[in-house]
Amino acid sequence: VNVVTSPEPRSQPTTFDDEERYRRLFRALVAVGASREGAGDALQDAYEKALRRAEVPEHLEGWLFVVAQRQWRRHHLRQRLFRPLSAARGQASRPSESGVVLAEVRKLPIRQRQVFIARHVLGLSNAETARALGIADGTVSATNNHALRSLRTRLGGEQ
């Protein structure tokens, strides 16, 4: 075996090995509406996309959240479009996870859901959320307030 030593061994970045971040992102996707399998697949695709980039995205967590969410929504839409009619009769695919608050969060409009989850599940700041979602800081704040108000109203009796 001819072994040629690599001229410049590269260090192994650990950015992608943060298990806690993966869990947060996974839960955030489930909160948005993905099934466990859908969340896992979408996240995996997002990580792969990140790895293919020449440079690690600056705000990795927000970037992964947005990309994974886009992957999941695209896949979800296609599934709904191409689902056979027989499967549509009374068998709408619903996430198996349950929880009163989770169920209400999933009823929020998508933008409110995204902002609320980015802020409170991923723990991103207003500025980070705004950057990830490509909206203004003020919009994040207002949208988050709308989401909280809706949840307060709907869950008022239970809180």
């Binding site: 040629v4 869990r23 489930v30 909160a31 995996q44 009619l85 608050v101 969060v105 008022g156």
Partner: protein, 353 residues
């Protein structure tokens, strides 16, 4: 105001508590994920299904000669490699069919993923040390693609043949061992690099353990009588087990007759005592309908293949807009109609190879 923010906080806390109860599946080691679309979205899998079947189905049907003289290594397994518990579903792995060559080294723990695209097939195996091994097999020569310059290259001996290896740059470096077996496809083995010499030894061991997969070829027979002049029929006499519509479509695609399974019809017309039917769309305008009738058993399908229902006027007559052809395969009866005899021959040859 304070009360309001307390309520908000409780909502957030409760949401996080509910989310924390969700079991998170084992994470795929993304840094080692190969380029072959590890855990790709189900839609993509479905979109590739036709290609997968083209190769998978073709491979299962073609006759592959007896294993060559690959020397046995001291660490070899027998039988197929099991699926990883956190890998892609068994159905997907089965769907991809088997590769022409499979490694038998004990260093491989399980199959994580299996995909086929065009003339190439790839597998992702998990190794005993937890890393992923990518294996790519291509029947034709490798396509020329723009790629980054390797950090290092060299050659290695595998069973007396010279294989080349290279270390590809990236966030995690990849060791790639590439070679061709006598009369066999080009094979790529890749692994995330940790220790160059040890990893190269490992890949050589795995390359040495590759053995050819032997799949028996079914023997097809044509019936002595083909019925009335208006009918044409063929049967795959050796088929003893059930056959899926997907496999039928795969056979067509493998023969260059583009086809896919159609959405179920709003109402079904089950003929010939069938219990179910699948509609197939064939990309040939000369084919005026293509239906796969399903039966509970091979015997029931064979009974229907006698076409009593068609030939007995007392039991009704079926009219076709073109000349109908009947092909019995396993527990299915394939019926298609066309006036293009050459095309019909192609389709029958594809279905009953």
């Amino acid at each position: 105001m304070n009360r309001q923010s307390d309520v908000d906080q409780r909502i957030v806390d409760r949401l996080n508590a509910e989310l924390s109860l969700i079991a998170i599946p084992a994470r795929v080691a993304s840094r080692t994920a190969p380029k072959s679309g590890l855990r790709s979205a189900a839609f993509l899998t479905a979109a590739l299904a036709v290609l997968v079947l083209m190769i998978g189905g073709f491979r299962t049907l073609r006759e592959i000669p007896a294993p060559n003289d690959s020397p046995a290594t001291q660490s070899q397994r027998t039988g197929p490699i099991a699926r990883c518990s956190d890998g892609r579903p068994q159905a997907e792995i089965d769907f991809a069919g088997r590769m022409l060559w499979e490694p038998t080294a004990n260093e491989i723990s399980c199959v994580f993923n299996a995909t086929v695209s065009g003339p190439g097939a790839s597998r992702v195996y998990r190794l005993a040390d937890g890393r992923f091994l990518g294996m790519y097999e291509r029947v034709e020569s490798l396509p020329v693609k723009p790629t980054v310059a390797p950090n290092a290259t060299g050659s290695a001996d595998v069973n007396g043949a010279t294989w080349s290896w290279s270390i590809l740059p990236g966030r995690g470096q990849t060791l790639l061992l590439q070679g061709s077996l006598a009369g066999a496809p080009v094979i790529d083995l890749s692994i995330e690099l940790t220790d160059q010499a040890a990893d190269l030894r490992l890949l050589r061991t795995i390359a040495t353990s590759l053995h050819q997969v032997v799949v028996p070829s079914p023997k097809a027979t044509l019936p002595a009588s083909v019925g009335t002049p208006t009918l044409a029929a063929a049967t795959e006499g050796s088929r003893r087990g059930p056959v899926s519509t997907a496999e039928i479509v795969a056979r067509l695609n493998a023969a260059g007759v583009g086809s896919r399974i159609s959405s179920p019809a709003p109402s079904r017309l089950l003929l010939f005592n069938a219990t179910d039917e699948d509609l197939v769309t064939v990309d040939e305008s000369a084919i005026k309908g293509f239906v796969v009738y399903r039966y509970p058993s091979v015997a029931a399908a064979a009974s229907a293949f006698r076409l009593d229902a068609v030939q007995d006027p007392g039991r009704g007559t079926v009219s076709y807009v073109a000349k109908p052809y009947f092909v019995g395969i396993g527990d299915a009866l394939v019926v298609f109609a066309t006036n293009d005899e050459a095309l019909a021959r192609r389709v029958i040859a594809a279905l009953v190879p």
